[in-house]
Amino acid sequence: MNSIETDKGSSLWKDAWIKLSKNRLALVGLGLLVILIVTSLLTPLIAPYGYEAQNLDMGATAPSLQHWLGTDIFGRDMLTRIMYGGRVSLMVGFIATAVALVIGILWGATAGFFGGRLDAIMMRIVDVLYALPFMIFIILLMVVFGRNILLLFFAIGAVEWLTMARIVRSQVMALRNQEFVEAASSLGLSQWTIIRRHIIPNTLGPVIVYTTLTIPSVMLLEAFLSFLGLGIQPPQSSWGLLINYGVETMEEYPWLLIFPGLALSLTLFALNFLGDGLRDALDPRTSKD
């Protein structure tokens, strides 16, 4: 069978990638993120000192050649502590976002696609939950059930899924009324096939953007709780906890505050710029050239 000579088409994903690669800030963000993830995964192998290694004689010292980011009051290497802290912070970020993603997409897609009473009920629940002061509830949960890291993931994810559900729902509803979905109906495609082949691929754009922007939001929430002493507990540490310690001694040892703070801020920067870049790249209105 002879093959047809065809021009290669340029899909919307390819166009989006081209647009993204021209956005320098977004690329920097992406690069930073990749470095962070790799470092976090490899931390046990590449950290310069042991996590627990104390050197009480040395105490807190300013950055030097042996300790690039200085040491804390127990003589522990700050670079190591920040690396381990980053692992925890990133892990919370990703896992909690994943929780929010799964619940949000399922909820929003169902409500958006089936519409009618089901939609009305489901979104009513979302509206009610949205009005609740979640920060307060998380603190309550932490107080009551102890500071279980698993619970932390769940609690944070349970807050963020609401907005994801709303975004997915509005996107699905907009798509449901598009003529190409009607065309699929008129062909007799089953609802599941329509969802799988026509709705989901066209929903991915906003979902990706929002996910990338949820991760920093979640990390901020965790850092906030840890700063108050209500999140991650020692011996584990996260950046929020490190910042807490840093504030206590910031007058004499400012580097204990500045470096973890910098780490957190840069990560948030990277994710936000990447998210913004993705939003612009996936927006069909901006041209790729």
Binding site: M1, I4, E5, T6, D7, K8, G9, S10, S11, L12, W13, Q178, E179, F180, E182, A183, A184, S185, S186, L187, G188, L189, S190, T193, R197, H198, P201, N202, P284, S287, D289
Partner: protein, 547 residues
């Protein structure tokens, strides 16, 4: 005596793709009291030309590269911002295409009407609010708004489309300009409303002796009101001349192409088989939608389709005509079981389809298909042409992975697209090409019945002609039965054997096309037919004079 003289105007857009020469060396003039029509398809530069006169273009990426535009001797293109504001307030006014988006939804129309008067840059002409309101109310009355005193405090969303456009006209005329630019003012309106607005503009022009520049893509619309016509294409002027000269004696190829593309008269297909056997039978069909904001019992439901009965014999092309809100699209969707019907039945080949479950309906799906209006929205942007066309065939098991390639090849030939385009995505095609793909998808399963819902309304008039011919060709070749939904009566006359006219969800009149045209019975039908703008200046002028 020329009030506006444009000479050598060049407006280029500097995009990341390169330079787009939107307007390239355009020259024309307008005398006071005269109506100049600028006609062209999309991308011709007609709107850009006029917006550049008032500095309404987004400055990057647009740039005025050269030329002059003298308004009473003063060059509009090189004046200062203050002078430009003076021109906008005193001399030139604009009526835009879409009155819904061109009016601020957060302010009352009254407030928007008096703004040019109370904020006038010329100190001597500033009015107080009460005086401005008096003027505005008088003007609202003049343009035909009933009860202008009360309506003055209403918001744009409280008006219908035609009324909103009248408000826009009032807003443009309140400062008594000498030149009125109308940018496709009737394109978004129903055909009967369009006729009214055209008459209004003509009347106002005569009473106030303003010059008018009327932009349109439709030669028929300007036939009755224009003194002079400019035909533009791709940024350049192809022809200039008096209306009669352009319509009756043009020697320019492009103009002739535009005139030819306007569907005229009836077209008779030689080889079509029409039989008496009904393919589609609609009986007492009702499709009601729950009205969210209805207050009393009457308003509880929106009666989109209200007790409609019709039959379509095999081989016929039936036209379904109506203005917006008539229910024609809902009827089409109801027949195809895409909209939930409330009462009544739809039978296809004798089998009742209403009330069947989706699995029971499945075998019938491939026999009836739909072509949609918007070529941009009717194709999945993330599927290639190949995937879009193969989906119906594979899903209905009409082809296997092995045979699909040759079947797709045949389809592409049928709709006039080249094979090399198969792996491309919808956004890489033009509107006309996308519609061809959509048509290909509709005929892929070799259906017997196709509903075409305004398939050419979103296309340029020259492309429109090509697609109409394609549709006629396919109907003939594949022996299709078709329901052609449109608001455009000339197109319907060109294609359809019989016509059904709908208004407010009810069938007003039906009959053989030519008989209906020659002898319409109902008042609504007569109004509809009378409102069609013909590309015939002499008859249009007399029609407007009678109105």
């Amino acid at each position: 005596m020329a009030i506006l003289e444009v000479d050598g105007l060049k407006v280029y857009f500097h995009t990341r793709n390169g330079v787009v020469k939107a307007v390239d060396d355009v020259s024309f003039s307008v005398d006071s009291g005269e109506t100049l029509a600028i006609v062209g398809e999309s991308g011709s530069g007609k709107s850009v030309t006029c917006y550049s006169l008032l500095d309404l273009l987004p400055k990057p990426p647009a740039k005025i590269e050269g030329g002059t535009a003298l308004f009473n001797g003063k060059d509009l293109l090189t004046c200062t911002a203050d002078e430009m504001r003076h021109h906008r307030c005193n001399d030139i006014a604009v009526i835009f295409q879409d009155p819904m988006t061109s009016l601020n939804p957060f302010l009352t129309i009254g407030e928007q009407l008096i703004e040019p008067l109370i904020y006038h840059p010329d100190k001597s002409k500033i009015e107080t609010r009460s005086r401005a309101k008096e003027k505005a109310v008088k003007l609202l009355d003049e343009v035909g708004i009933i009860d202008p005193h009360t309506r003055f405090n209403c918001y744009p969303h409280e008006f219908s489309g035609g009324m909103r456009q009248r408000v826009m006209i009032a807003m443009a005329l309140i400062t008594e300009p000498k030149l009125l630019i109308c940018d496709e003012p009737t394109t978004a309106l129903d055909v009967t409303i369009q006729a009214q607005i055209l008459e209004l503009i003509k009347k106002l022009q005569e009473t106030r002796n303003v010059a008018v520049i009327f932009i349109s893509h439709d030669l028929g619309v300007v036939a009755g009101i224009a003194d002079k016509i400019i035909v533009m294409c791709e940024g350049t002027i192809r022809e200039t001349g008096d209306t009669d000269a352009v319509f009756y004696h043009s020697s320019n190829d492009y103009t002739k192409k535009l005139l030819d593309a306007i569907p005229e008269g009836a077209k008779v297909l030689p080889n079509r088989v029409t039989s008496n056997e009904p393919l589609v039978e609609v009986s007492n069909l009702k499709t009601f939608f729950k009205n969210e904001s209805g207050k009393n019992d009457d308003d509880r439901y929106i009666k989109a389709v209200n007790n409609v009965s019709l039959t379509i014999p095999r081989g016929e092309i039936l036209g379904l005509v109506g203005e917006s809100g008539s229910g024609k699209s809902t009827l089409g969707r109801s027949i195809l079981q895409l909209a939930p019907t409330t009462q009544g039945s739809v039978k296809f080949e004798g089998k009742t389809l209403t009330g069947l479950s989706s699995s029971e309906l499945f075998p019938w799906r491939r026999k009836m298909q739909m072509i949609f209006q918007d070529p941009y929205a009717s194709l999945n942007p993330r599927m290639t042409v190949f995937e879009t066309l193969s989906e119906p065939l594979l899903y209905h098991k009409l082809a296997t992975k092995k045979t699909i390639a040759s079947q797709i090849k045949q389809l592409m030939d049928d709709v006039g697209l080249s094979q090399g385009q198969l792996k491309k995505y919808p956004h890489e095609f033009s509107g006309g090409q996308r519609q061809r793909i959509a048509i290909g998808r509709a005929i892929a399963t070799k259906p017997e019945f196709i509903i075409a819902d305004e398939p050419v309304s979103a296309l340029d008039v020259t492309i429109q002609a090509q697609i109409l011919d394609l549709i006629l060709d396919l109907v003939e070749r594949h022996n299709l039965t078709m329901m052609f939904i449109s608001h455009d009566l000339s197109v319907v006359r060109y294609i359809c054997d019989r016509v059904v006219i709908m208004q407010h969800g009810v069938v007003v009149e039906e009959g053989d096309t030519e008989m209906l045209w020659a002898n319409p019975q109902q008042l609504y039908t007569k109004d509809l037919l009378a409102a069609i703008p013909l590309a015939d200046p002499i008859s249009e002028r007399s029609r407007i004079a009678e109105a």
